[in-house]
Amino acid sequence: MDVRYINPFMKSIKNLFQTMLTTDVSFGKPFVPRPDDDSRPDVSGVIGFSGDASGAVVIAFGKETAVRAASQFAGTNLHLDHPDFADAIGELANMIAGGAKAEFEGLDVNISLPSVIVGERHEVTNSKVHPGLAIPCNTPLGNFRVHVSMKVEQAAAVGAGS
């Protein structure tokens, strides 16, 4: 995927965590996940893209970090089985995707409603159709990754000045 589309996600993650979780985020170097990557999340929030770009963004946490992030965001203790836990994770994914897409100049992109996967050490597979990058995110609440796999449609990319 075009690395130019990674910066809007990093900007959006930082803005979300500073504004609504009152915590800072630093980033590791984005990388292409390897098939033998052993780092598997317990909680993932997923948003799909359609329109001038297609693909998905996945915010992937270990369970302790997910609980701390959801609780800090909601302003109340949200354990894994709390009825609002998945909703909070989905909303974090939604805000990351929405904030990033606002920065895709010249592209008309729609985002899906969020889906949330809760399951110990599940696998986030890099799509063959939409190869992507993982962004390592470090916060005082714990570390997590945001996987971005996105393909800009040819005609739209020309319109966007690529």
């Binding site: 803005n15 504004t19 609504m20 302003g75 939604n94 805000m95 897409k101 606002a102 409603l113």
Partner: protein, 125 residues
């Protein structure tokens, strides 16, 4: 002032309720989508609506167009992740009175509510 929150995320509605509580707004009704929102308007006659855009069953834009067609003039603040200028214009043309982009701070929410109610009061004079 009665405020109706229309958002499919209960977390967001709870965050909004906490912020509104700190601003001394305690009379709050809630809906999880546009269809439920229309039913709540008829029950609670709100003075202000905070409206999400992307929701199941009926999205925020359709809700807005529907209530304006019915002649309901209650001020509406869109509160959404849809941040592009084209989306803001689309919402204002459909009858939104103000626009808050998620993520939002308490200060932004307070300022937008204040702005909106002042604009509505000035227009009514």
């Amino acid at each position: 002032m009665k405020i109706l929150l229309v958002d499919d995320s209960r977390t967001i509605r709870n965050i909004q309720k906490n912020i509104l509580g700190r601003l001394e707004h305690k009379d709050i009704a809630e809906a999880g989508d546009g269809i439920e929102g229309i039913a709540r308007i008829e029950e609670s006659m709100p003075d202000l609506i905070l409206l999400d855009w992307n929701m199941p069953n009926m999205d925020g834009l359709t809700f807005l167009e529907t209530i304006r067609k019915k002649g309901i003039t209650t001020p509406v603040i869109m509160c959404t992740t849809e941040a592009e200028k084209s989306r803001v214009i689309q919402a204002i043309q459909a009858g939104a009175n103000n626009y808050v982009v998620k993520p939002f701070s308490t200060e932004t929410m307070a300022e937008k509510i204040d702005q909106t109610m002042k604009k509505v009061a000035a227009a009514a004079e």
